[in-house]
Symmetry: C2
Amino acid sequence: MTELRRAASVVRERSPVPEATVARLPLYLRVLTSLADRGVHTVSSETLATAAGVTSAKVRKDLSHLGSYGTRGVGYGVDLLLNRIAAELGLTEDRSVLLVGVGNLGHALAGYGGFQARGFRVVALLDIDPCRIGESIGGVVVRPLDEMEVLVEHSRVTIGVICTPATAAQAVCDRLVAAGVTSILNFAPTVLSVPAGVDVRKVDLAVELQILSFHEARKRPASSPDGMTRATAGRALPRTRGGGPLVGTTGGEAS
Amino acid sequence: MTELRRAASVVRERSPVPEATVARLPLYLRVLTSLADRGVHTVSSETLATAAGVTSAKVRKDLSHLGSYGTRGVGYGVDLLLNRIAAELGLTEDRSVLLVGVGNLGHALAGYGGFQARGFRVVALLDIDPCRIGESIGGVVVRPLDEMEVLVEHSRVTIGVICTPATAAQAVCDRLVAAGVTSILNFAPTVLSVPAGVDVRKVDLAVELQILSFHEARKRPASSPDGMTRATAGRALPRTRGGGPLVGTTGGEAS
DNA sequence: ACGACTTCGTGAAGGCGTTCACGAAGTTGA
DNA sequence: TCAACTTCGTGAACGCCTTCACGAAGTCGT
């Protein structure tokens, strides 16, 4: 107000969108899409909050980072907000995705409809196993790993999905980065190291279960089955390792 | 003190473990398991931190919530710490898991080796589609949805995994809760409402990609359709968002 | 036109988590 | 034994995010 307002036509935000807000934008987007499909034209922060499972204050604060797109006394325009969030998430142009490792999980992700439904196109599938090459999943043919560089160059892929065993993940990651991929979604249970400027997000399915298990343990206080106290001497982890590999192969693909 | 302290031998901490710490314990557990397999007996917070991709201060603070299990000047005993974390996560007794919805993703999760490798047993698979019933995945046979209540009762399952389409998720969730399940891992892209006392964690694969897309959009301002190719790949800090033409084409929900 | 009502946008306060810095407590070597 | 060194455990400061509370700004009914 007192400050000289930059009256430029472009939205000159610095980078006012907190990471926590970014993580919720896809949630709002999903709700708004559903509302739009049902023909709803306006929505209040309260309604949107309930549908998204958050508080209304959070919704308003989050959306305020994108600018003022609401109308006081009415709410937010569904279509307007929907476009605004889609733009903020960079979904106006569809993003191409390359998936490496068509094993158990990779195969499922390749055929997962949710990706395409929300603006992502899996343009290439890669695997090192000759048996899998040539197979078609969701209209995309599995190609040998060596074609990675050519594919990235050609199709302008910027996002890579790693579904390989943990042991191969870092090597694949390095090749992806070298080829020009700048965002990686990692499903392998291992920590990836990448140069600055490359984003990595990881999804570890077992970790989610372990977190639930933690809370379960607090609900049912470790009932001692035989009346003996928990003073086990040996390994408590019920791992049933048959042979002992040198490198810890916890998890990973099992095909 | 004011409260009668239980002198039991078991650790009876209330819940001084912050949620953020809980989320990292599985990570430490994975690293420690790997170290144990390699015959390493002690590890410093610095080494553990590097392997887990966090800072050493964070490791020490996290582990301090579990008690003093380190030795100054030396580090942490790998086996000791491994057992301690496993106990904290409730993994000393193996947790049974029930999976509902053996579709694309559910099928992959049922066969995912990572669960069993880390102390979880998928004891039942359910689906409503008659065509899928009878199929065996990883040694477990797919059963009709109606057997849910009996199975939960019998096998003492406390964790349920939902891999159904979004439209069916809430109904399945309600049945699970009614049957006695108190922790739910939800892969369906919808918000589940549950009574107090039930924990829900959600994993939305498309959301992860959308978050990556957000950061991609900031790396490459997207406006110029054919500006630079790869020559300037890397740093692009001075983001200058151009007012992009919004063509929001976000598809509807997918199965 | 205008008061009543609804809802957004936002400063302020509070809570949680991360990072820093350093004393405490152990080991190692002579 | 004792000094030098390593590393843990932790109080304190800092920053991010959430929550609260309320003014601002619009709509609606008469």
